[in-house]
Amino acid sequence: MMKRSIAFVLLYLTNQCVMAINTPLPSVIAPLASKSLLLDIVNIEQQKLVAVGERGHILLSLDAVNWQQMQVPVQATLTGVYFVDTMKGWAVGHDATIINTLDGGKTWHIQQFKPELEKPLLDVVFKNDMEGLAVGAYGQFFRTEDGGNTWHSEFHHEFLLPEDVEYLEELKNEDEEAYLDEQSSILPHFNRIVLDGRTLYLVGEIGLIAKSNDFGKHWQKLAEIYQGSFFDLIRTQKGNLIVVGLRGNAFRSLKNGTPWQRSATNTTALLNSLVLSDDDRIFILGNNGVVLESTDDGLTYNQHIQEDGKPLVAGVWFDNKIIAVSDVGIKAITLTLPGHN
């Protein structure tokens, strides 16, 4: 009798705990939200900017000066945001969170919240308002075909190293549980997913660059050019590809995929993000306040180190400025074109 009641209490407590973790808490409106750690920003058709970051912070601005924090149903740190039009958008983040909006960012709804996975999602992309992908740490890969109402996990064997394939096969036969556990952490981090016309690019850990022509169903790894992580990839105004990553590594490819050439950046900082201006310049944003500017389509770069040395995580070109997000929030960086005033 006694034992049963203790067991019951324990069960009750465990349930309470699980409940506590699984119940997302709404974000808190804070005066300093626009100065908090922000991790991604999008420019929606030059009309509106949306930035996301820690504690479920989502901020909207029409002028890049005044920012308004929106009520969000989660407090998870949000790492990526994507809009298909001025109204429909998604944001992803830690606790494998996926939230969406249908009214241009004013109200947000939870589509997925899985703190028990203990892994963050790092980026999200949509082909149209129905088909989308969310990717993240340890090769997490979620797909939706109904605008995010349901998300399905996919495991992409093509990113496994040959020896890992064998190892997993063996494990699968021996110990199902260990196999699943191993499978959930064996893939590299997927840091960024970029839609370039009909081609999808994925960059990530251990020099991962891959492309897909069927919106992520099948992937083709590009030849290895670097051991470290990549964080962003972009097609320049002139049609070439640039990829950036750890320790100041930036590569440029003149024709689709090959051959990659290393560009001198004169920095060892982590390069987070690429930004294209509307005057044919390319900017690379990095940690330690690094801003690199190229006026020759990514062949050479000038350094414009920001004095405060804050990591610049992502940015957009808006109103002839870079509007960047950092660990101290929104930053406007004005760099006039050489020769112009």
């Binding site: 506590a20 973790i21 808190v28 804070a30 005066p31 300093l32 908090s36 750690l37 991790l39 820690e54 504690r55 740190t77 790492t79 830690h94 606790d95 703190p115 203990e118 963050p120 790092l122 981090h189 840091n191 051991q227 470290g228 992580s229 964080f231 750890l246 320790r247 060892t268 982590l270 987070n272 940690n287 330690n288 040395g309 990591p311 995580v313 950092s326 660990d327």
Partner: protein, 779 residues
């Protein structure tokens, strides 16, 4: 009646054995003088804080782990450029090594560019790489300096160990309360002198400047400033002597009250030293006060003696009669001073208690020296005819005086009295209205004890300007379960608390184990800011905390205690109040099982506790001091009316003093709170002297007007002289190097002068209405 018989017996006894009594006084004085020479200047950190306040209990409980607030910061700066040159590094190394070997410094925690624990970490493809910022094979040549420069950039110490503009570098140390090698208590003042001599003087040259801040240095500077008090003491004695001479026109009669008052000061210091107390920079002013009070009572005595001699008495008779006449009012007045000071014992701050003991001891000594020793000495003195003549001559201009007394006597008639009372009421109401704005706590930036222009405060401004650190910080201590830092929900609560506090106006930044572990977590993930979060995964969370040592001050050994350190914009009372209020709200909102958010540690935590203790003490202190004054008046006058006429003017003046504080931007602090008690305790003297004569005359059937006129003629000039003497004694403090002494000086001068005015203007006006039948019948 019984009081009278006691007075009689005392008088007969003392004067019959006057030689023996004098001998006793001399012997005691010699002994206490010797003791007084042994007295030490004494200051300690714990004396300044309300130890029983709940914040301070938290502070003391965790002081071992988190070092508390007793740190020293030395910024070495290059005036003509950046730090990257051989000359600067030589000086910096010199300062570091010197500080390391000064007794009292916790050597493990000396931190600068040269300490091996100052390391840089960088992220490379396969993990971390790092080493000490200054490598073992460092040479201060161009190449070596370039390596150090790039290491500094990687190490994240800009703003703490190196100034934001690379012109200064910091050496930090925390101090131990007791020296482990000798087991002796740290001598803060000596330590500060060593810093000055062995660090500042040695290395501040050739364009290198040395800036030192920290509690120990501040105390040293305050003690240094307090030494200037000796000069003020001399000046006060000289001016007082001149005043007394103008009053009595006799060198001998001038010397006597001053000598007796000095004896009181010697006895006070001697007793303090015998009882094992030292003199604190704050209570160093008390001897002044004792001297001034002594002189003012001495003046009453020689005033009475002089008048009796002029009327033809011998000096012995005059002394005996004066003793008898003044023992009761003088005794009551001094007793109420003593009680007024003793009420300060109710405030639970060591330094105020010490001040209460110092002051009440001193005033008690005056009862012996000026009410007994002085008349005994006078009785031996041959007071010359010339003195009498001078007094008589003096009486001719005194005719004018008397006409002044006649004018003033009209204050006791209902017509002028109602005007006076009306004006007083208006002033009182204005005072009451404005005193609502009285702020509790320090209202200015920097160390409030010192002037803004002092070297210490200038150094403070330089350091807070050049570094991203603030000396105004407060720690909220989170008490929780062992190994709490491995639980996501606890760390998350700390993180949320920190964020909420960061959003409070007045909080500039904050740091805790939670915020640091997020940065470390990003570090483990290639420095990618997207990983700057508390990991849900326990192993990962542990990994992100494992690198943070308990010497960081962010956790104790089993991380069951973790502070959230809040850096504030300043330490003004309003800022502290707002932050404390929000902390209390936030800790309620974020309440979880097993987590307690405890206030508070750090310098501002101490200030918050002190402010609260001062605020709480204000009302009880006023009640006690007024209670004591009322009780003593009731006992001595045996009249409610007399008590009212003494106490009401006092209360009006206290209110006006609070108004003055708001006007002059003086906050209610540990040093200004006692002033109110001192002011009331001493301010009551005037009223008691005047009313003791008045009530005697009133009892004999005089009208209020007549009684007041007689009181003025008998005591008026002495009261005026008393007020001026007291005011002079404390007004020399205006020129003190110490800001709090200036504040105390201004307030006490105001209290003494205005209380005197109130006693001769408001008191008779009140009396006119309180004894109405007698007021108007004759007029």
């Amino acid at each position: 009646m019984t009081i009278n018989s006691i007075t009689n017996r005392l008088e007969v006894g003392l004067f019959r054995q006057r030689f023996l009594v004098l001998l006793l006084f001399v012997a005691t004085s010699v002994f206490l003088f010797f003791q007084a020479t042994q007295i030490k200047l004494d200051a300690s950190f714990t004396k300044n804080i309300p130890l029983n306040h709940s914040y301070m209990k938290t502070y003391l409980k965790h002081r071992e782990n988190f070092g508390g607030a007793n740190n020293i910061l030395i910024s070495v700066c290059n005036e003509g450029g950046d730090i990257f040159n051989a000359k600067f590094f030589e000086a910096l190394k010199g300062v570091h090594d010197k500080l390391f070997f000064i007794p009292g410094v916790n050597r493990i925690q000396v931190k600068s560019l040269f300490s091996p624990s100052t390391r840089f970490v960088e992220i490379v493809e396969d993990g971390f790489a790092g080493g000490p910022v200054i490598p073992a094979n460092f040479r201060s040549d161009a190449q070596g300096l370039a390596i150090v420069k790039s290491n500094i950039e990687k190490s994240g110490i800009v703003g703490s160990i190196v100034s934001d503009d690379y012109t200064c570098a910091m050496v930090k140390a925390s101090l131990m309360e007791t020296d482990p090698s000798t087991g002796e208590k740290l001598n803060t003042i000596l330590f500060s002198e060593q810093l000055e001599k062995e660090v500042r003087n040695e290395f501040e040259k050739n364009g290198i400047t040395v800036h030192i801040i920290g509690f120990a240095k501040m105390v040293g500077d305050v003690a240094n400033g307090a030494k200037g008090v000796v000069t003020f003491f001399g000046v006060a004695i000289a001016i007082t002597a001149v005043m007394v001479f103008f009053f009595c026109h006799s060198i001998r009669l001038t010397i006597l009250p001053i000598a007796c008052s000095l004896v009181a000061v010697i006895w006070q210091m001697g007793l303090l030293s015998t009882l094992g107390f030292g003199l604190d920079p704050m209570s160093i002013l008390i001897p002044f006060l004792v001297f001034a009070i002594g002189v003012s009572h001495g003046v009453q005595m020689i005033n009475s003696v002089g008048k009796l001699v002029v009327s033809g008495k011998t000096s012995l008779q005059a002394a005996q009669l004066s003793f008898r006449a003044l023992l009761i009012p003088g005794g009551i007045a001094l007793l109420s001073d003593t009680v007024g000071f003793l009420t300060l014992l109710s405030i639970d701050i060591g330094i105020i208690k010490e001040l209460a003991i110092t002051a009440s001891l001193g005033v008690a000594m005056i009862i012996l020296t000026n009410l007994i020793l002085l008349p005994l000495l006078v009785s031996y003195m041959h007071i010359s005819k010339s003195f009498g003549q001078k007094r008589v001559e003096n009486d001719s201009p005194k005719q004018k005086d008397s006409s002044i007394w006649h004018v003033m006597a009209t204050f006791a008639h209902k017509g002028p009295a109602s005007i006076i009372l009306g004006l007083t009421l208006i002033l009182f109401l204005m005072g009451l209205y404005h005193s609502q704005d009285l702020k509790i706590g320090e209202l200015h930036a920097g160390a409030p004890a010192l002037h803004e222009s002092s070297r210490y405060n200038q150094d403070t401004f330089l350091i807070t300007d050049k570094y991203a650190i603030s000396v105004d910080y407060m720690s909220v201590i989170i008490e929780t379960i062992p190994d709490a830092c491995t639980h996501h929900h606890i760390m998350d609560a700390i993180d949320n608390f920190q964020w909420r506090m960061e959003n409070v106006e007045g909080v500039q930044s904050a740091i805790s184990l939670a915020s640091v572990s997020k940065i470390v977590n990003a570090g483990y993930n290639e420095g990618n800011p997207k990983w700057r979060a508390l990991s849900r995964n326990q192993q990962t969370l542990v990994q992100s905390i494992a690198r943070i040592p308990s010497t960081s001050g962010l956790l104790n050994n089993d991380c069951s205690v973790m502070p959230v350190i809040l850096f504030l914009a300043d330490h003004k009372a309003e800022t502290i109040d707002a932050v404390i209020k929000e902390i209390k709200l936030a800790s309620e909102d974020l309440q979880l099982d097993n987590i307690e958010f405890k206030l508070a540690s750090g310098p501002v935590g101490v200030m918050a506790a002190t402010n609260e203790a001062v605020a709480e003490a204000q009302l009880p202190m006023m009640l006690y001091v007024y209670g004591a004054v009322i009780l003593l008046c009731l006992i001595s006058f045996r009249s409610v009316r007399a008590t009212i006429s003494v106490v009401v003017p006092l209360f009006v003046v206290s209110t006006l003093a609070q108004w003055l504080m708001t006007v002059l931007d003086i906050g209610l602090t540990v040093s200004t709170l006692p002033v109110i008690a001192l002011g009331v305790g001493i301010g009551v003297d005037y009223g008691i002297y005047i009313l003791s004569t008045m009530s005697e005359k009133l009892r004999n059937g005089d009208t209020v007007g007549e009684a007041y006129l007689k009181a003025l003629q008998e005591r008026g000039s002495a009261v005026l002289i008393t007020g001026v003497t007291l005011a002079i004694g404390v007004s020399t403090w205006f020129f003190s190097d110490l800001k709090f002494q200036v504040d105390m000086g201004i307030l006490l001068t105001f209290m003494f002068l205005v209380n005197m005015l109130a006693a001769v203007i408001v008191l008779p006006a009140l009396a006119a209405f309180l004894w109405p039948n007698k007021g108007e019948t004759i007029k």
